[in-house]
């Protein structure tokens, strides 16, 4: 465990920091882990014991998953207890700040773009470099729209062309390096 006296001071706040989780959030997580543990345990118990194959009963496929499910239930319960002790039922969750709302918007956009690329564009007949160009260009432009900087948000022709050039160059270079030079198959 990291000694608090050794952790760097004056580190700028960033999403990688560990914030003390709100006890309420921990309680929700604990419920999630409990449910997952119970589902795993039930699934393992219902697993075929393979008696028809005359296997050694100690090697049923459901052995380790069942134990893992039990452990998860145990740890989930401990987390639930701990969050209750820390006051989960008395304190509510803190309301999302403006920063957090902006983060949520950005993340949803990022997820939409990534899913759009990986599920829709790639692997369905479109050449890889074209799909990648579309994704990278769209990504750059859309995130520029969300930028906090006033100047960046105005998408004129120059930024649009720059985004397109970056998209094309990166896709083509990556495609050439992977497929032609290192002989790795593209989706």
């Amino acid at each position: 465990m990291a000694d608090p006296a050794l952790t760097p001071q004056a580190a700028p706040a960033d999403p990688h920091d560990h914030q003390e989780s709100a006890p309420r959030a921990d309680l929700k997580d604990a419920v999630g882990w409990l449910v997952l543990g119970i589902v795993t345990l039930v699934g393992s118990l219902r697993m075929d014991r393979l008696e028809s194959q005359n296997i050694n009963p100690y090697t049923v496929p459901g052995l380790l998953p069942g134990l893992l499910g039990l452990a998860m239930i145990l740890l989930g319960a401990v987390m639930g207890l701990r969050s209750w002790q820390r006051g989960a039922l008395t304190q509510g969750l803190p309301a999302p700040t403006a920063d957090e709302r902006e983060q949520r918007k950005r993340v949803l956009l990022a997820i939409a773009l990534c899913c759009g690329y990986a599920v829709v564009l790639v692997g369905h007949g479109l050449p890889f470099w074209l799909a990648s160009t579309l994704y990278v260009t769209a990504s750059i432009l859309l995130f520029q729209r969300l930028s906090r900087d006033e100047q960046e948000r105005r998408i004129g022709t120059r930024p649009a062309v720059k985004a397109l050039v970056i998209g094309v160059l990166s896709s083509v270079i990556i495609w050439i390096v992977f497929e032609r030079i290192f002989l790795v198959r593209m989706p």
Binding site: M1, A2, D3, L6, P8, A10, A11, P12, D14, P15, H16, H18, A25, D29, T40, G43, M47, L50, Y58, T59, P61, L63, L64, P65, L67, L68, G69, A71, M72, L75, M79, Q103, R106, V107, A110, I111, C114, C115, Y117, A118, V119, V122, G123, S132, Y135, V136, S139, I140, F143, Q144, S147, R148, S170, I174, V177, F178, F182, V184, R185, P187
Partner: protein
């Protein structure tokens, strides 16, 4: 003994050709660049390079990967010093003193120290690698199912308790990793577990797509969600390595090097433990402990050397036991398996020259980072100027290729997406990914060992606790878990305090 030295010489000689050296330098270069970019970890770097080098010869591919591993941790200390943001988690210990020195206008000196310290400590680690791996493999040949069961459990437990602040969350992530590893056809009877009749799940969730998702996509999402750009401290003074300071602080370097290797040997304990423990040891033994955190050269040296020497330290158990010492070495192991080298106790028997090749590769990696540290720091730092919303989509591009390339399945890409989004959500709630990775890697081993052990002992749990080596691992694992129970913890501390007091009392009376 002589045979070993001969083999080592042969291994070094086999690397002395231009193409190989180029691969090594290239791997180190990519590693350093990815290490410099905050958020892109050594694990992701190795995972992506594994897919790039799939078609290369085994030795060349592993060379690229090891050089990138060393390069990534080396590059991460650049951002630790200049931005106060560790490039990889392992560089966190360098942040405090490195950034303090940077603020005092001595950024170059700090970087020079990091370079020279990294070079020397990696070499110390390489020597330990050459000496200990064959020895450990000898011992490991006596390990049976019972020992491997406790060793895998130990790895996941340690990883969960050491990484991040919350052991409970760490262990839950470890359990999740172990659980996800059980999906698919199990190894003893080819029975489909948790596949819900999906044929594609029968092969299970592959390691590389899962890692690329957890470390790549999750990172891309985290970075893109952050609206703030960061400022970088200026690099004014010379970045040349400081050999005089190495000699001045030679004991720190040597001690931290050994501590790094020892922490690396323990499965599950990541590079940051090596760095922090060396830092703590240096602070405890220093004549100026109050300088630590405010620009202590000693502290920076300790953190850097502990961090870098743990890389060979992590490779040792991966090669000798087949149990990864950390998340990046887990990917390294997966890459070795892809190229037909089976890590584990049988490695010394099936492929003995490989260990010496790894020694040569790691030496080459340290020389590569020295060269880049001497000549390439300033240009490489320009990479930080690329805007994140331009860089991250390109990284995701690489992630998609990375997930697809190993088995040419689109399913792997979808798995990467799912795990990546899940990992992002879990990260936001305070859960670390390293225990998940270890659980994923060690899951099959745990499963096989448990069931084989039970068959061998005919259902009895006794051998799991009475065989000497198994008992030792069991005691350590259970002790570690119990230390987090407050009542037990207090009891142990009281007992240790009382014992310490008694020992001190003995000496005081003598004086």
């Amino acid at each position: 003994m002589l045979q070993g030295i001969q083999d080592l010489g042969a291994a070094y000689w086999s690397f002395m050709n231009p193409m190989t050296l180029l691969y090594g330098l290239g791997g180190a270069f990519v590693g350093i660049v990815m290490g410099i970019l905050p958020g892109l970890s050594a694990t992701l770097c190795i995972a992506l390079l594994t897919t790039l080098t799939i078609k290369l010869q085994a030795n060349d591919a592993i060379l690229v990967l090891i050089c990138s591993y060393v390069g990534a941790l080396y590059g991460g200390s650049r951002t630790a010093i200049l931005l106060n943001i560790p490039g990889t988690a392992a560089n966190a210990a360098s942040c405090a003193d490195g950034y303090a020195l940077a603020l005092q206008g001595q950024a170059g000196r700090a970087i020079g120290i990091a370079t020279s310290g990294a070079f020397v400590s990696t070499l110390i680690g390489v020597v330990c690698l050459a000496l200990f791996t064959p020895l450990l493999a000898e011992v490991a040949l006596q390990f049976g199912a019972f020992e491997f069961f406790w060793l895998s459990l130990f790895g996941v437990t340690m990883s969960g308790s050491i990484v991040g602040g919350d052991a409970l969350k760490g262990w839950l992530m470890g359990l999740l990793g172990l659980l996800v590893a059980q999906i698919g056809q199990e190894s003893l009877y080819a029975y489909n577990r948790f596949t819900f009749d999906w044929d594609e799940l029968a092969g299970g969730i592959s390691l590389i797509p899962a890692l690329v998702g957890a470390f790549g996509l999750a990172e891309v999402l985290t970075t893109l969600s952050d609206p703030i750009e960061r400022k970088i401290a200026d690099l004014k003074d010379s970045v040349l390595p400081r050999w005089k300071e190495i000699i001045q602080y030679k004991w720190t370097v040597f001690r931290s090097g050994i501590i790094g290797v020892l922490t690396g040997l323990m499965p599950g304990v990541g590079e940051d433990a090596g760095a922090w423990m060396s830092y703590a040891a240096a602070k405890g033994l220093s004549k100026e402990p109050e300088m630590f955190g405010k620009g202590s050269i000693d502290g920076l040296m300790a953190a850097e050397t502990g961090d870098m020497s743990s890389i060979p330290g992590h490779i040792i158990p991966s090669l000798a036991l087949g149990i990864p010492g950390s998340a990046p070495s887990a990917v390294l192991m997966a890459a070795m398996i892809i190229h037909g080298v089976q890590p584990g106790p049988m490695l010394m028997i099936q492929n003995p020259h490989f260990i010496y090749h790894v020694v040569a590769m790691t030496t080459l990696a340290s020389i590569a980072i020295l060269l880049f540290g001497l000549f390439g720091v300033r240009p490489l730092l320009q990479v930080l100027r690329v805007r994140r919303h331009i860089l991250m989509p390109i990284v995701f591009l690489l992630c998609t290729i990375g997930a697809f390339a190993t088995a040419s399945r689109l399913f792997d890409v979808y798995a990467m997406l799912a795990i990546g989004i899940g990992a992002y959500l879990l990260r936001r709630r305070g859960y670390e990914m390293a225990p998940f990775v270890l659980g994923l890697v060690l899951g099959p081993l745990l499963d096989k060992s448990l069931r084989r052990g039970l068959v061998l002992s005919d259902g009895s749990l006794l051998p799991f606790f009475t065989r000497p080596i198994a008992m030792a691992f069991a005691v350590v694992t259970i002790f570690t878990i119990l230390m987090y129970v407050p009542a037990f913890n207090k009891g142990v501390k009281r007992a240790v305090g009382a014992a310490g007091g008694a020992v001190r009392g003995l000496f005081v009376r003598r004086a």
